[in-house]
Assembly symmetry: C2
DNA sequence: GTAGAAAAGTCAACATGGCTGACGTAAAAA
DNA sequence: TTTTTACGTCAGCCATGTTGACTTTTCTAC
């Protein structure tokens, strides 16, 4: 009976709370990508290049099909961006040993440089937010975000042992 | 002295932890927008239309310049999208009372319908993640995301009383 | 009351980065 | 040997961002 008071208009609160989450994600993501976007624009690149550079840096020797799986875009879309990065010497390709049809991707020194710049801009922002929020909040942040991710990709975070993308 | 042990390779852990955050944000945001994107595509709209519909729904009577401030895009970009939404009867315009130069924006019934569909898709995803994570994690999620947002916009979340965008 | 600033809109041109569809080549797998 | 797979390419379309220039209406300050 005493509980009833606490439940005053729970639908409104829930709705507000959830809408706030949508906005936090919108504004948060917008600002999260703002600084890399500026750095990339200087080099004539866009956000698509960033994603490629990031994941190739994170998984050296990544095959093209794996990268397509991560990004969930078409190979034609990827090829435009990847082609530029290879041409301009940010990414190198070599045939796979076990499967020579594959072109395994790696960052060159130049690519690694750019990757570090871009990642630094974002990690610094996140590090500030993490420090300000505290360890417990960080855990909560990770838990909730993980819950937004589709199950298949989620596994890679829960089981970081096998970092592969099929 | 005893602290030293705890600090074994703190740089590596920090780097990994921060990179994980970048990826959580990337995958989380990607999946967060996936369902609305599909709904919108059916109507020939895109994510830009979603943002306009969302913020007009959230702030009925919003002026165009305020919307531009929220979205941080040019008025030419907005005008294309907004023009379609007005033309197709999702959004209505009326002159401001105090300032008749303004065109205050509001959702029509049709617009409200679509807004509800889109928001429902996202709030359901977030609600699932919130339920699975628990109240404490939700607080942490909000705190960290808030920390990613630039100070000016952040105020609007901390002080929800005045929901205006100058 | 007039000058200037502000709110909104418009036209034009361009870039990025998604998409589909069709087709080609080399290598692996059946 | 046939079929499938990994990768690439050409061509064209669409959505959504940009800059720059210009107009109209209305408000504000002097």
């Amino acid at each position: 009976m005493a509980d009833v008071k606490i439940q005053v208009n729970p639908l409104f609160l829930r709705e507000e709370e959830l809408r706030q989450a949508l906005e936090l994600l919108f504004f948060g993501y917008r600002d999260f990508t703002a600084e890399p976007d500026r750095l990339l624009a200087e080099k004539g690149f866009g956000r698509a290049h960033h994603r490629v550079i990031y994941f190739v840096g994170r998984h050296p020797g990544l095959a093209v099909s794996h990268l397509l799986g991560i990004l969930k875009i078409t190979k034609q879309s990827l090829s435009r961006v990847l082609g530029q990065l290879v041409e301009e010497g940010y990414i190198s390709q070599r045939p796979g040993e076990r499967d020579r049809r594959q072109r395994l991707l790696e960052l060159t020194d130049k690519g690694r440089d750019l990757e570090r710049q871009l990642t630094a801009a974002q990690t610094e922002l996140v590090a500030r937010a993490y420090r300000a929020a505290g360890a417990e909040a960080v855990e909560g942040f990770r838990t909730v975000l993980l819950g937004l991710i589709n199950e298949k990709d989620r596994e890679r975070f829960l089981d970081p042992g096998r970092g592969s993308f099929e």
